[in-house]
Subunit: 419 residues, 4 copies
């Protein structure tokens, strides 16, 4: 790689933080080199002890103005900022649901925009969205393209944007320390279950918020009681799922079966496919899960516990659904909206055996929200990470044997806590 042209296009940038420990500097160097740019380190002060922050100042050099622009966008997304800071550029959306050409596309990391000399934190941070600014109210908000309205002030280009990468957690002994965000079988599952139980227990203690994203395999594999326990005991702040979880849960509560298989004995109950459709029919008859509970027809299960404890749940429909049953949001744009609202202010999200809803939720989360995903299929976890939810830790296990382990450990923690 030789750049024969004179490299005259350069900019001075700086970056602060746990540059080495959190690999921020590594990432910045990587991106410059991957894009065939050059850099020169002008100043570097390393934190002497591990709690001290480091500081680096460097020149980024490129072959053409275009090239420099390309490199800088990457470098800014990796956490650097230009020395000479200029305000964010804004441009009006030409019409509803259409962004100006050079719109800035967000990451899921904490972002600030510079407006008239003031750094304003972007709200509702999500990846692959645009930033809309309300200049008067000094507000910057992540918005999906469908929420863009004509004349919205949209951030364009990469000036006046500061992205802060999450620092790697160190202190404390939660599940995120002993597992990297690397997914593997052959892990000590009992130890992992224990760590998750500790995290869940701690979140309740300090009145934090936990969301559970749940797939129907929970019911198939016999983990219904475990999840019901978590809800009933106040560990879960919100449940996100789809039609399949709803219908399987109702089928199991009414008949003890999941798709016609008796979950306790494992034997195939005949008329099983009917059970599934009868569950759908009962929901239509009652009009809602709440109606089924009120009529005393539904007396246990995941949704039952949500209704009894007043825990909110959001059920998103998909083209694969039988029914979909009442209570399921059939419009995906509306479902996304409801999911997003439900995901505000969370500390932890536990994803259980559902690729569709897990990736959907992953897309909506800022990178600071911790994610644990449990699936028997490693590819679900790989895809979640590939799609940008890099903060997730993946546990390859079957939810039917794993979730009861977590609940057992939680009960031990509860007993010890009383004593």
């Amino acid at each position: 790689m030789s750049n024969t042209s004179n490299q005259e296009y350069k900019r001075e940038i700086e970056v602060t933080g746990h540059l080495i420990d959190s690999m921020i500097l590594t990432r910045i160097f990587d991106r410059i080199m991957d894009l065939k740019g050059e850099f020169e380190v002008i100043e570097f002060t390393i934190g002497k002890e591990k709690s001290d922050k480091s500081y680096a100042k460097l020149w980024v050099k490129a072959n053409t103005p275009e090239h420099l622009r390309e490199i800088l966008e990457e470098v800014y997304n990796a956490g650097a900022t230009p020395i000479e800071i200029t305000s964010a550029n804004l441009s009006k959306a030409p019409k509803d649901m259409v962004l100006p050409a050079e719109f800035y596309s967000t990451t899921n990391n904490l972002t600030h925009v510079l407006l008239d000399g003031e750094w304003i934190q972007v709200e509702d941070q999500m990846m692959d969205k645009a930033i809309v600014v309300d200049i008067k109210r000094r507000l910057a908000t992540c918005k999906p393209i469908r929420a863009i309205r004509a004349a919205d002030e949209v951030v364009v280009g990469d000036s006046g944007i500061r992205v802060s990468l999450p620092e790697r957690p160190r202190e404390g002994m939660n599940v995120f320390q002993f597992m990297s965000s690397y997914t593997s079988t052959e892990k000590p599952v009992q130890a992992i279950a224990k760590k998750i139980a500790e995290d869940v227990f701690g979140i309740k203690k300090r009145k934090g918020k936990l969301a559970v994203v749940a797939g129907p395999a929970i019911v198939h594999t016999g983990a219904t009681e475990a999840l019901a326990y978590l809800i009933r005991s106040g560990y879960v702040s919100v449940l996100l799922a789809g039609n399949a979880l709803l219908v399987h849960d109702i089928e199991y509560s009414l008949f003890g079966t999941s798709l016609g298989v008796d979950v306790q004995s494992g034997s195939s109950k005949y008329q099983g496919h009917r059970h599934h459709m009868v569950a759908v029919n009962e929901l239509f008859k009652a009009g809602s899960v709440e109606g089924l509970v009120k009529s005393n027809a539904l007396r246990s299960g995941i949704l039952y516990e949500c209704v009894m404890s007043g825990i909110p749940y959001v059920l998103a429909g998909s083209i694969r659904d039988d029914g979909p049953a009442p209570g399921v949001i059939t419009d995906v744009v509306e479902a996304q909206q409801k999911y997003k609202e439900a995901l505000k202010g969370l500390d932890l999200v536990i994803m259980l055996s559902t690729m569709l809803h897990s990736i959907a939720v992953g897309n909506m989360l800022p990178s600071r929200v911790k994610v644990v995903a449990v699936d028997i299929n490693p590819s679900t976890l790989t895809k979640l990470l590939d799609r940008g939810t890099g903060q997730a830790v993946g546990v390859v296990s079957d939810v039917g044997s794993f979730l009861p382990l977590v609940v057992k450990d939680l009960k031990d923690l509860e007993s010890n806590d009383i004593a």
Copy 2:
């Protein structure tokens, strides 16, 4: 297993067809025994040669009337009919979207109902639906629960119903012969590709209909041109996909990238995540794929070929979607409806690397429609079979290397055909 009670509850049933070859009788015996019933064979005439049908008459015996009813429903679903045939029982739907309690829940096999001495074939056969009868017009139709209207005449119980199981294909040498519906890696992929090419070629020749269900991995892995070729050359009658395929296809056509990775060179193009969102934005700006084609901005790719050849496509939204872009049906009930319409009269469905849409389509197909599913993840194929699409054959391969092989074989067939 000893039934101490006197078995006084019995019914005489009969069944005709390739009872042994197609395992129909095996399945009937299985179900009776699994349900702990008894049977006695009264008459059995075996087809002497393989084209002759066999005939069996037997007593089915149970312990209680309930028990007998249970066994009979299973046995009828396996293809048997009672000797004494009584008309189908009908009951009115109590209100919109609610079925009468004892509704008959369908299989995906060819079904007839007996109305006033006449066997009427059920239309729009799908699994897990109800049968609604229009007595005057002598019509019986599979309906999903959401399409049920108050006072619809719904078939209840299991009288007057005849289910015909698909015979196993024997003659001809298509892909369904040399592969059982068993999914495995370690298959001769080049031979499989050739067989599929022959099937696809033959369907076009005899003016049959082929649907392709397509996931975005087609674009990621570099199979866009292969699928575009199939569409352009008139092999595909309809394309079923989701928002992700649309957006990836447009991104690839506009930028040569898929989620920012240059598909030809494999190198990461920076601003890639922007490409994805820019593709969405361009679609919103143009208003539709057709608009993008008309404006000359879109000049190649999968959707481009559909537009140019007038091949219908249906795009179903999901909660995971970015956008969703215009043209994507965001209401899943409406999307199901459009998919169902698109699936009428098909000979073959090829499913390429999408679990969500493949299972959705599988649920809508009568068992007589052949299905080939290609996915690098064996669990996608296993789930498809588990969910009732038992006629599918699964190919574990990556679509990016497999689909071009199919196209290469098709081109050879075309050359030979001209010569």
Copy 3:
């Protein structure tokens, strides 16, 4: 498929058993048709009730003598026998480890050979072996090619051979009934664990024999105590494993780690890679596992329990081994021999998370020995079935959460049994 030639080559065959229920007849018809032969059913008597056997007599027809020979070999392997029975043909092995050209290659099903009018059962039945006959002693034995000696009398061709397919189990409620030999995730794992516990408990009760084939993931995932319990409590008759299980087990017993990861806390113990090699070194120092036990250095774990209870174990080396440690058989031919001896007279084999040893054991087992295989990777189970161990049922779960469930159920059974 029309055979224009005159079909003059035919033979009369017969078959007895649960022809329909066990799909024997289906398989015979299949194979004739797959090979493009013809058949005519001359006689068919169906068992009236499910305990009655059926009988069929048919003509098999082919185009050429070669063709007929081909079909007949398949049909005989599927359980049929010719009406006119001729003795088995024998031919001498030309030299050590070389078979006569037309040697009969065995299946893993119960096989008899006809010698001078007497049907002799083949001993040590395994698949893909030759049958050596000791005419004087009237013995027929399955032998691997390396055990063949010059002038051994080897069965050639397919005359005088009767293969008996296993009947499908019906009565009793073991794990083999509610699971077909079909592998799937999304099963009720707790129910499956319970069934396996019942089978294991029943085998000990009736003084049957259980072998466990064990991979190192047992130690990684924290199931060491569970397997140790099974051995200590007398449920296991023999343990088959490799070097990795041995070394991991010793490492865990000495340090509480598996490849340096603390199994209880899940945290990475530094010097972990050393632990692994120290375990190997300790074994070399002591000379054997028994030596380590005797010196009081080894006081718990899987191998410890084997030594203390006098349960035989066989450890087979592989090219992947660290060490291999003393006690591991480094010659694979010798290891195969030892495995085979250990596998005699078994009722059940439980395979836990090891593809290499599971497939090896599968190859050595007659089809009558039941097999349960547990692995988190469905492809291990698929390969086991593909390689001919069709009697296996596969459980997709991680052994670290699954095996403790089985042990918990066993303890419940023990308590109830005393009471």
Copy 4:
């Protein structure tokens, strides 16, 4: 985490290299913190431009001498060295195959030991071995435990050891740049195939050495001709495989089948299981592959090309083998020895669809040798990385469609090269 004790135990260390770009410093900080040690950076000079090396000097602090020792071992393995360097400590092996208690256990990274003031490079670097020093000849060599002889001088403790981590490759455009060592489906397989072809082509050009580790799926999936082409054209320096590849290759060459399935047509050839055993028998009859070639019975295939081109091959036996056939090394210790010899001086190893042999080879390779592994099962690739072969890049694809793509690209490169 508060360390209440006074931290008096510390040592000054230093490290040089691309500390940030290659994440060396990140790793050192990580390990100190993971072990709950402290550090203080005394000096840090960053390379100004990307080709300049950086230098860091820091204090490592611990609570106890034990603690310090633990941290230092990790830190040294991560590439640091103490400022005050002391010679390596040596201790005599107490007897054959037994190491002194405190033996240093190696990594797979380039290692030097300090002997009398001179840094000596360790030969035959492999992970999890001991270093034996020949003081007179000034030689240090990695030795497996079985090769240790009584009185061998073995390096103990961690003094006088310097480990050099591999720098991340940057320049040039090989497959290792655009793929991280991260395994994923959904990659542009055609682009990956092209990159691999370029690497393979370049290695031959510059007279480098390529090893292929090959599993039998190559034959099953129809990639025999592709691999045969690579060998015949001089791209492959050595072939490492097992009995299964050998027997499948011979079966395919003799009969066109793989386990009885016709690879070209995909149809099941009956007597297939016989073909497999006949292949074994023919090998025994001829005595060797060379014998089969000489007798003109073997005229194509993978092993045929090896014999014709004089390319060395090593076949390692396993307990799963049928036969094993002559030519297969049945003792695993001997097979390891032969593999190791074959792996000397390599530039690239391509692993094709074999977990057993791939992991075995991975264990034997120094980290500087590049590895590409192709497997349809992502877990094979994950395990390879987990077992320490961190330099490998994984391609999830089926070898039957992937390898022919590589060969096609190679042929294009050859044509262009001539022109």
